[in-house]
């Protein structure tokens, strides 16, 4: 379907652009951190807007777990055309979302090649999750890890006030 490819290409270009912009300034160490933050913030704002649109016609969520399930099923299907494969939680505010074939990583490799580059391409999606949760009233910290492409895990830790 054409629309999948559109977003994938746009996303790749966004990442490349953000890194190219940073490369024109000095300080290699800072480069990685600020690029990832820029991408994450972009994802955050997109997540906020998207969740507003997608939850327009839903009934109110019962609790945090209900929200996470919505994220894994409905939100993931709408954006990445598949659901999260595995959701685990310690029932104390930490959730691990596992996607065995993450749409934005499938074009890279099916193993360990290009593993070091993967985090750049996960920053936006981490922000997306954080933005979506934030607009639903849950402040969180979202990180991602990849050990074998195209599978990746997003860890969400809900911040209790």
């Amino acid at each position: 379907m054409a629309d999948n490819a559109l977003f994938e290409f746009l996303h790749m270009e966004i990442v490349a652009h953000v890194y190219k912009e940073q490369a024109t300034r000095e300080d290699i160490d800072k480069e990685r951190v600020t690029c990832v933050s820029t991408l994450e913030l972009m994802g955050f704002r997109v997540g906020q807007g998207l969740i507003e649109r997608f939850t327009k016609d839903c009934p109110t969520f019962k609790d945090d777990l209900d929200i996470m399930k919505f994220l894994c099923k409905d939100l993931w299907s709408t954006i990445f055309k598949k659901q999260i494969d595995n959701l685990r939680t310690n029932h104390q505010g930490t959730y691990v979302l596992q996607d065995n074939k993450f749409a934005l990583l499938t074009q890279f490799s099916s193993g360990k090649q290009y593993l070091e580059e993967a985090p750049k391409y996960l920053a936006f999606s981490c922000g997306l999750i954080r933005g979506a949760l934030s607009n639903l009233g849950l402040e969180s910290v979202v990180t991602a890890e990849v050990s074998l492409m195209p599978s990746c895990k997003f860890q969400v830790v809900i911040q209790k006030l």
Partner: protein, 118 residues
């Protein structure tokens, strides 16, 4: 200006009622998880209706008590329109969530609705 202040006051006090209603959701039945909250409370001069989105944004409509022709389903559809316009505002890249809404499109939809209701 006096009139505007009264409306601000009415809306602020209605927020307490909204909070009461949404915090009762967990204990209530599953199918009471609607976004539309219905009539919050009637005063001498006004009827106040509420609606909460999943993103915890609260919409409040204050209607003159003398306007008896407005039915429940009309109020519901007004809230739907508000919710739809608000979603569009949220998706506007020039809008920063949390700021006052400055979208002219949003203003015109609200004004049209108010005119139609009278």
């Amino acid at each position: 200006l006096n009139g505007e202040l009264k409306f601000h006051y009415t809306v602020h006090t209605s927020l307490d009622v909204v909070e009461e209603k949404i915090s009762g959701v967990g204990k209530a039945l599953a199918d009471q998880r609607e976004l539309y909250l219905g009539l919050l409370y009637p005063t001498e001069d006004y009827k106040v209706y509420g609606y909460v989105t999943n993103s915890k944004v609260k919409f409040v409509i204050v209607v003159d008590s003398s306007n008896t022709s407005l039915r429940d389903n009309e109020i519901r559809s007004m809230f739907r329109k508000l919710h739809n316009s608000f979603t569009d505002v949220m998706c506007n890249p020039f809008y920063n969530p949390g700021d006052p809404i400055q979208s002219k499109a949003f203003d015109s939809i609200v004004s049209t609705m108010m005119v139609q209701a009278c």
